[in-house]
């Protein structure tokens, strides 16, 4: 029996119009995910040697499908969900409404930008994958659309900051409520992290695709991409951390232990942004010293995830013991597994442990030679973004959609079945991809059509296809439950955002009480970015290399 969510006595509710904007962010994200997974199953089956892309409407190339899968799932879904969810948690944390026009502007920038990028992708004029490495060149609308999506995140961040400023004026000297602190720091991190992508897309790729400039420096654009391309995973993950730290303890019937530890974890994500060179360990033109520096910082960023493992598991242990669980691990079976929101997110956490360990392997400097650009990498990130994040989004939706719709979830039992299905699927899928990768099976390659094939890829490839198909079924069960909830869930009164309290409250005196002074963390973060990227940029600006595009790859 799960613990009922206690309604917060302050009972703050956002105006209906603002809740509607948040709702459409979330729904747009899930709609995009639905398209994205249609191309996911095709990728997985391809590794099993089955080519079904030829039977798809509109899309006929493996790489076109892969571009849609990556851009829609990793860039658009994540942004849409974060913009909506984190706006809600900011407002609820501060018990204050947001700036309405900015909320609307962010929504329309997101939708407009996504559609603008989607059109060339569907037309086959942007087969450049979600990393869009120059000199591969897409239609300009692809770059402009993605730029607008990034602008939507900045508008969301600005909205949070004006709301925070108004709150601070009314609450002088008070600590920022934890839920709002996590939300605002997530976007401050992203504001700094997105600079590389913004400069690359707006400053270089967009004018280049419009024919205003002729050539690009491929190492420069690639490095700017990865400046953002690693911390973007924090941007995917941190909204989920808001749920894991801020909500799951209460949903499970426990409580979060330390307010301070939680804030420190989020601050570390702001501080340790410039780790992108660990995606470029085997690139030429970057010194090995810089690469080892990136390894050190990357291992540093593993630390807040270990903090999370402690803090969230301890909160779950409190819940399990309250429910009568005993012994070293007995409590784990007493948490409310019949609550699909808790179930999906706890399974996501378990998968994230494997994702974290495999990520540490990737980040391990010269060990990267074993795995770089092999199927091991998507094996890893389907454990992280593909499950720890995506399955948590689904878990969050199991309370969020009823909250937004004033309707009860269509089927709790189906939600639990869905979570276990997806969980089982990804374990098989990633096991296959990783084994194949270690045997040299390349990532993002149309293996079913390739001119080469190694016998040791066969069983890993089959596991990839089978696991991916099970994940696909898991995703479809989610969409079915979602649509049925909106269409046919029984009406209920609006609940509240289920956020937790902490055993240890925030410090009000001494050094620790000063950690809400966000500007210091921003300054330190930017300084570290300059240390890591300054010398590289000075050496590459202005570019000495100018390479002509490969159009319509």
């Amino acid at each position: 029996m799960s613990t009922p969510i206690v309604t917060d006595p302050s009972g703050f509710e956002l105006p209906a119009k603002q809740l509607a904007a948040i709702k459409w962010n979330i729904y747009f994200g899930f709609a995009v995910l639905a398209i994205g997974v249609l191309f996911g199953i095709e990728q997985a089956l391809n590794y099993a040697g089955i080519d079904i892309i030829r039977d798809y409407p509109l899309v006929h190339s493996y790489y076109q499908g892969l571009t849609l899968h990556g851009v829609l799932n990793a860039l658009v879904l994540t942004t849409a969900f974060a913009n909506g969810f984190v706006s809600l948690t900011t407002a609820r944390g501060l018990a204050r409404k947001l700036n309405g026009p900015m909320l609307q502007a962010s929504l329309w920038l997101l939708i407009g930008g996504s559609v603008m990028a989607l059109i060339p992708m569907l037309a086959g004029r942007a087969n450049v994958l979600y990393t869009f490495y120059a000199p591969l060149q897409a239609h300009w609308a692809f770059y402009l659309g993605l730029a607008l999506v990034v602008v939507s995140t900045w508008v969301t961040s600005a909205n949070q900051l004006v709301t925070l400023r108004a709150w601070r004026r009314e609450h002088p000297g008070q600590r920022i409520p934890l839920l709002a602190f996590m939300s605002i720091t997530t976007y401050i991190m992203w504001d700094i992290a997105s600079a590389g992508l913004a400069i690359e897309v707006v400053g270089i790729l967009l004018p280049w695709s419009l024919g205003l400039t002729a050539g690009v420096d491929p190492l420069l654009t690639r490095s700017l991409f990865w400046f953002t391309g690693h911390p973007i995973v924090y941007y995917w993950l941190l909204p989920v951390y808001i749920s894991w730290y801020g909500m799951i303890p209460r949903q499970a019937g426990g409580v979060l232990f330390s307010d301070t530890l939680t804030r420190v974890a989020f601050i570390l994500f702001i501080l340790l942004i410039p780790v992108g060179f660990h995606h470029q360990y085997v690139d030429p033109g970057i010194s090995t010293g810089l690469k080892y520096g990136a390894a050190i910082l990357t291992f540093g960023i593993f630390f807040p995830s270990l903090m999370t493992a402690f803090a969230v598991m301890y909160a779950l242990e409190i819940a399990g013991r309250r429910a009568g669980g005993n012994g070293l691990v007995g409590w784990f079976f007493k948490i409310p597994w019949d609550d699909p929101s808790v179930c999906a997110q706890v399974l996501a956490m378990l998968v994230f442990m494997l994702g974290g360990i495999s990520g540490l392997m990737n980040a391990s400097y010269d060990m990267n030679l074993e795995v770089h650009n092999t199927a091991f990498i998507p094996g890893h990130f389907h454990l992280t973004v593909g499950t720890a994040v995506a399955l948590s989004y689904m878990g969050i939706a199991y309370w969020l959609v009823p909250y937004l719709e004033n309707r009860s979830l269509y089927s709790r039992r189906l939600g639990v079945v869905q979570a276990f299905t997806y969980f089982a699927g990804v374990l098989i899928f990633s096991r296959g991809m990783m084994a194949g990768g270690l045997a040299g099976m390349p990532r993002r390659t149309a293996i079913a059509e390739a001119s080469y094939y190694l016998p040791e890829w066969r069983i890993p490839g089959i596991m990839t296809g089978v696991g991916g198909s099970i994940m696909f079924v898991g995703a479809m069960l989610f969409f079915f439950n979602l649509v049925m909830t909106i269409a046919a869930g029984s009406p209920i009164e609006r609940g509240d955002v289920p956020f937790t309290s902490t055993v240890q409250t925030p410090a009000t005196v001494g050094f620790l009480s000063q950690m809400d002074s966000l500007r210091y963390w921003v300054v330190a973060s930017v300084a570290l970015c300059i240390v890591m990227y300054g010398p590289f940029l000075i050496a590459h600006l202005p570019p000495e290399v100018s390479i002509l595009p490969l159009q319509n790859p």
Partner: protein
């Protein structure tokens, strides 16, 4: 024990674990000689030049292929282009130490020899260098592991160790 002491103990153990991992990696790179490609030179090419032509007059890419540099030591100079390698068949004797020097004449390509530690990117305008010792005779698959356009999955070659 109070939760605070568990918390402190866990965090201290985490930090120690990460430090040990980093030290092991530094040891593997410094003492075991498992090196990554580094900064080994760029190829100047301005917008009025065709990179393909520039490479024809830029050593070592003016003569792609296998070159013996000392007894048991070879340089292999490779150019990647859509969608093939020059050369795409590399023959070397077993036990030789091979230094690969690679670049690309158009878009970004990959250079992976399955079953070995040879794994690097070929970036237009940059020179990638990696050394590997081939002890086991056999035929190795060389393949492009970076998407480089519609026929990316046909870009491959062979390394034959005799």
């Amino acid at each position: 024990m109070e939760p605070e002491s568990y918390e402190k103990g866990f965090l201290a153990a985490s930090a120690v674990m990460l430090a040990i991992f980093l030290a092991a990696l530094a040891y593997s790179a410094a003492a075991m000689g498992i090196a990554l490609p580094g900064q080994t030179g760029a190829i100047y090419c301005n917008v009025n030049q065709r990179l393909r032509k520039v490479l024809r007059s830029t050593p070592p890419f003016d003569s792609p292929g296998v070159h013996q540099t000392a007894p048991g030591k070879y340089d292999v100079v490779v150019i990647g282009q859509t969608w093939s390698y020059t050369p795409d068949r590399i023959e070397i004797p077993a036990g030789s130490e091979v230094t690969f020097r690679g670049t690309s004449s158009d878009v970004i390509h990959g250079f992976l020899i399955a079953g070995t530690n040879v794994n690097m990117m070929l970036v237009p305008g940059e020179i990638s260098t990696l050394t590997y010792r081939f002890d086991k005779p056999g035929e190795y698959l060389l393949l492009c592991h970076e998407y480089c356009g519609r026929l990316h999955h046909t870009m491959s070659g062979k390394v034959i160790v005799k």
